[in-house]
Structure formats: structure tokens, C-alpha cells
């Protein structure tokens, strides 16, 4: 393959997504109200095409830097791009009925979703801090709008405002950190910075470098909801439209981890001891705050918001371990988390009914055997989130905790196990309410209306949660193959 065509091949999925997103924006205004579904179908088609093009041009044995040193073309990029496209696919399937029910705009939703996917891709594949920043901003700006997508709903507006202000501040802090890093090394490409840093260990104490690193950590910590920077998460997840909350809980988190892994291991492999301590404290805080906060929640969306903070903490254990097993554990966990969390949010988006009326745990009383096609998958997702064996969540946690244990982080692993024990309480509470409590007599009851598409995607998620729980080795091997390109 010539270098010129290689440039386009390495970037093809993003080109496809971008072209289709623009196409939707052009076509959508001319569609009549009844035909608006068409734009959602285009977006699903775009995601499928991008996925196929990603599969066709894998780079399994070489790590190439293309686009004038802007992006990496290696298996890590391929695998994570596949993950993001899967997220986009499932979210648009869930959104199908949801958008119609809540009377929202399918065209804008699907094109914003595609733009968000492009941003996530760019974060995972970038080889230059400029590209990382652009990807982060494309993703953030799309999610700000998506969070406030119910324009006439005050809760949704508020969540968008909170997300926007905190996101704006955090990206400014991230940029300030990047500018120090540039001042320290004189370049912004990952490889260039790593070269400069590898020349001497005298740099490590330098305040400029420390400031730069710390601020970059703050920026990404916000995106993946690590402990001191997690405050926005429950509010934003509660207020945003449920499908969008589902997307926000897996999408930006996965993209943030993808970029953070590249940055930590491709730019700063020599300063790892400095990071590790920060990460250890942050992981402990994140796991405890997430799980303790979730215990008292009445709103299911908010509960999952807190639980998503906790899961970010578990994944941090992989970075702390900093070996192939830990890294591949993170990627495996991202996949597992994608299926279980997106599935849970999908079921919630069906149960809540028009106008998101039924979102408290009390509303879930006694619906267990009434709608078994939805409550059984939901139970699977919740059990998997809690880390019960035979599910994907268990395998993911096992790999992550095992990796940390092998690097002698005994205390940390103990805290992690305690934290996930706490989490069993509130996940099981939802299941108990569904199956064992009788419904409150007076008042409205959940009335389920769903499309076959949504049910299909719920079942797909449930299938993969069980499948990855029983046969994890294939995906684990793929993740191992991918993280080798990070040069650990």
C-alpha cells in the first residue's frame, strides 16, 4: 500500500462518520415529521459502514504514524474504534423509540452522536496533543448539547449547564497543562515529548513538568469522573435524557481512558512513579465515594451515576498495575462495562415511560414477573455491575484486581474488594424491589411500551454480558495484543 492511500485508510472510519453526519444535517430539514426516522437509519448505516471499514483495514503487526504525525494506525486504535462504534450502534438503537416518545429531534440527535463518535475516535488514535485536544472538544461539545437535548425540560437544561461549565473549566486546565508540557519540551507530539523526557532523569523533579502532568490528569480525571473531579456526574446523569446518560456513562469514559492510557504510557513512561501515587489516592477516593454515594439514592439514574464513578475507580487499578495484564484488563472492562451499563440504561429508558415519570426505585416494585423480558436482562446487568461470577463484570474485576495484586498493591485491592461488596447492596436492592416487593396500590403504575429494536438491543447486551463472562479469553487476547502497541 502506498503511503498516500495509507493516510486515508488509517482515517477512513472517521471520514465516513463525518460525511454521514454532514449528510444527515443537510437531509433532515427536508424530511416531513413522519419521515424523520430516516435520519436515525442513516446514522446506524454510517456506524455499520465505519465498523466494516475498521475491520477491513486492521493493522495488527505494525504501529504506523500517519497524517503528518497526527494519528497512530495500530491495533490499539482499531480495537478501541470498534468499541466506540459499538457504543454508538447500541445507543442509536435505544434512541430509536425514545426520541419519538419524548418528541425530540432525530436528525440533530443522530448527527451529534456521530460527531461525538468522531471525537472519541480522535482521542484514542491521536499521536499529538493538538489532536487529542481537538478530539476531546468535539466529544465534549456534542455531549453538552446532547445533555441539554430536552430543550423544554428544566432538569435537562440544568444538567447541560453544569456539564458545560465544569467541562469548560476542566478543558482550560488541561490546556494550561499541555502548554507547560510544550514549554518544557518544545514539541507536542507524543513521541517527541517522550524522546525529550527519556534523555535524562533529572527532569522528574521539575515543577514545570509536574504542573503540566498534574493538570493533564485533572482534565482527563474530569472526563472519566475520577474522585476529586466527579461532582458533576450524578447531577448530569439524572438530568440528561436517559439514552444520553447511557451514552455519557460509557462513551466519554471509554474515550478518556483510551487517551489517558496512551498519554501515560507513550509520553510519560519514565515518570510513572510520580503518577502512581496520585492514581492510588484517586482510585481509593473514587471507589469509596462512588459506592457510598449510591447507597442512599432513590433515583435509578442517579444511582447508576454514582455507580459509574465507582467503576472508573476500579479501572484505575489497571493503570496503577501498569503491566500488560492491567492494561488489557482496562480494555476488557471497558467492553464489559459498555454492555452492562448501556443495557441497564436502555431498560430504564423503556421503564420510565413518557416524560421520564417512573425513575425511582419505588416505581420498580413488583414489576419483576410482569415484564420478564425486560426485568431478567436488567437483573443480569445489575448482577454483572456488582461483579457476580459468570458475568462479564466479574471477569473484568478479576483481571484488574489480579493485576494490581501481582504488583503488590495489597491494601488497594482490599479496599477495592470492600468497595465492590458495598456495591452489591444497592444493585441487589433494585432486584429485590422488582421481584420481592408488592406494588404500592394507589397511584400510577409502570406501563411498558417498547419497540422491537430496543428489546433486541437489550437482549444483545445481555447476551454479551453472559458471553464475556463465560468465554472471556478471546477478547482478553485481543486486548493484550492491542496494549502491546502502547509499548509497556
Amino acid at each position: 500500500m502506498s503511503t498516500k492511500s495509507l493516510i486515508y485508510v488509517s482515517f477512513l472510519p472517521e471520514i465516513i462518520l463525518g460525511a454521514f453526519a454532514l449528510l444527515i444535517m443537510c437531509v433532515d430539514p427536508f424530511l416531513k415529521k413522519r419521515e424523520k426516522v430516516f435520519s436515525t437509519i442513516i446514522s446506524i448505516f454510517a456506524i455499520v459502514v465505519a465498523f466494516i471499514s475498521n475491520l477491513l483495514f486492521l493493522s495488527r503487526d505494525a504501529s504506523l504514524i500517519t497524517f503528518n504525525g497526527m494519528i497512530y494506525f495500530d491495533f490499539y486504535s482499531n480495537l478501541l474504534r470498534g468499541l466506540f462504534l459499538l457504543i454508538g450502534f447500541l445507543v442509536s438503537l435505544f434512541a430509536f423509540k425514545y426520541i419519538e416518545r419524548e418528541d425530540l429531534f432525530p436528525g440533530e440527535f443522530s448527527s451529534l452522536l456521530l460527531f461525538a463518535l468522531i471525537g472519541m475516535d480522535l482521542m484514542a488514535i491521536s499521536a499529538n496533543l493538538i489532536m487529542t485536544f481537538i478530539g476531546l472538544e468535539i466529544l465534549s461539545m456534542s455531549t453538552y448539547i446532547l445533555a441539554g437535548f430536552k430543550r423544554k425540560n428544566l432538569k435537562s437544561n440544568e444538567s447541560a449547564l453544569k456539564y458545560f461549565i465544569l467541562g469548560g473549566v476542566s478543558s482550560a486546565i488541561l490546556l494550561y497543562g499541555i502548554s507547560f508540557l510544550y514549554g518544557f519540551t518544545g514539541t507536542l507530539s507524543y513521541r517527541g515529548i517522550a524522546n525529550v523526557l527519556s534523555k535524562g532523569s533529572g527532569f522528574i523533579g521539575s515543577p514545570l513538568l509536574f504542573l503540566g502532568m498534574g493538570m493533564i490528569l485533572v482534565g482527563f480525571g474530569f472526563k472519566i469522573a475520577l474522585a476529586p473531579f466527579h461532582v458533576w456526574t450524578p447531577d448530569v446523569y439524572e438530568g440528561a435524557p436517559t439514552v444520553v446518560s447511557g451514552f455519557m456513562s460509557v462513551g466519554p469514559k471509554a474515550a478518556g481512558y483510551a487517551a489517558l492510557l496512551r498519554i501515560v504510557f507513550q509520553i510519560f513512561p519514565f515518570t510513572l512513579p510520580l503518577w502512581r501515587e496520585l492514581f492510588v489516592y484517586s482510585a481509593i477516593l473514587t471507589m469509596l465515594i462512588g459506592n457510598l454515594g449510591a447507597i442512599i439514592q432513590k433515583n435509578v439514574k442517579r444511582l447508576l451515576g454514582y455507580s459509574s464513578i465507582a467503576h472508573a475507580g476500579y479501572m484505575l487499578l489497571g493503570i496503577i498495575a501498569a503491566d500488560v495484564m492491567g492494561m488489557s484488563g482496562i480494555i476488557f472492562y471497558l467492553f464489559a462495562y459498555l454492555f452492562m451499563n448501556l443495557g441497564a440504561f436502555g431498560v430504564i429508558s423503556i421503564f420510565e415511560g413518557k416524560g421520564e415519570k417512573f425513575v425511582t426505585i419505588d416505581d420498580y416494585r413488583g414489576i419483576g414477573f410482569k415484564y420478564p423480558q425486560l426485568t431478567f436482562p436488567l437483573s443480569i446487568f445489575l448482577l454483572s455491575l456488582a461483579g457476580i461470577p459468570l458475568t462479564a463484570g466479574f471477569v473484568g474485576k478479576f483481571v484488574l484486581f489480579g493485576a494490581a495484586l501481582m504488583e503488590n498493591h495489597m491494601g488497594l485491592v482490599l479496599i477495592a474488594i470492600l468497595a465492590s461488596l458495598i456495591s452489591v447492596y444497592y444493585y441487589l436492592k433494585v432486584i429485590v424491589y422488582m421481584f420481592m416487593k408488592s406494588p404500592i396500590i394507589e397511584g400510577e403504575e409502570i406501563e411498558v411500551r417498547y419497540s422491537g429494536v430496543a428489546l433486541f438491543s437489550v437482549l444483545v447486551c445481555a447476551f454479551f454480558v453472559l458471553y464475556l463472562g463465560l468465554f472471556p479469553s478471546y477478547l482478553l487476547n485481543l486486548s493484550k495484543e492491542a496494549v502491546v502497541f502502547l509499548g509497556i
Binding site: K162, Y176, S179, G183
Partner: protein, 99 residues
């Protein structure tokens, strides 16, 4: 005058921006404070670009300016949506989501 003075200046501007975000209650002023932070970054990047004698920092600055403009557009749209509901742009009154 040494170029380093500009770094001090940019750190002062950045700090003012952070304080503005934390202290001011008007959303519009918070937006302006975020802008202030981004411009401190721009100043920083240009100074470093001059120090190193390459254009990478200046190129980045152009990107930052573009992104800042887009971000402001999105932010103002969100503020308008809130203003239509509550007739206020005071952050403290936007508080239905908590705990």
C-alpha cells in the same frame, strides 16, 4: 523585558479566571472567566513558541481560539434555554438537581 514576565502575566490571568468561575454567580461572567482562562493558555503557548523558535505553539493557539468560539456558542445557547424557563442567569437559582 524578558519573555518570562509574560508567563507570570498569563498565570495571573489564569488565576483570575479560576477565581471568577468560583466566585461570580452570573452565568455570563462565568463564561467570560472561562474565556479568560483559555486566553491565558494562548498567551502561554505563544511565549513558549517564541522561546523554542518553532510554530507549533502558534498553530495550537489558532485551534484554541476556534474551539473557544465554538464553546461560547454552545454555552450561550444553553444559557438562553435556561433563561426562557427561569428568567434568571444566576447560577445559584439553577439548583433542582442535588444530592
Amino acid at each position: 523585558m524578558s519573555l518570562y514576565n509574560f508567563l507570570y502575566l498569563s498565570s495571573i490571568i489564569f488565576t483570575l479566571g479560576v477565581i471568577g468561575v468560583l466566585v461570580r454567580r452570573n452565568v455570563l461572567i462565568v463564561l467570560m472567566s472561562i474565556e479568560l482562562m483559555l486566553n491565558a493558555v494562548n498567551l502561554n503557548l505563544i511565549v513558549f513558541s517564541k522561546l523554542w523558535g518553532n510554530v507549533v505553539g502558534q498553530v495550537f493557539t489558532v485551534f484554541v481560539i476556534t474551539v473557544a468560539a465554538a464553546e461560547t456558542a454552545v454555552g450561550l445557547a444553553i444559557v438562553v434555554a435556561i433563561y426562557r424557563h427561569k428568567d434568571t442567569v444566576n447560577i445559584d437559582e439553577v439548583n433542582i438537581l442535588k444530592w
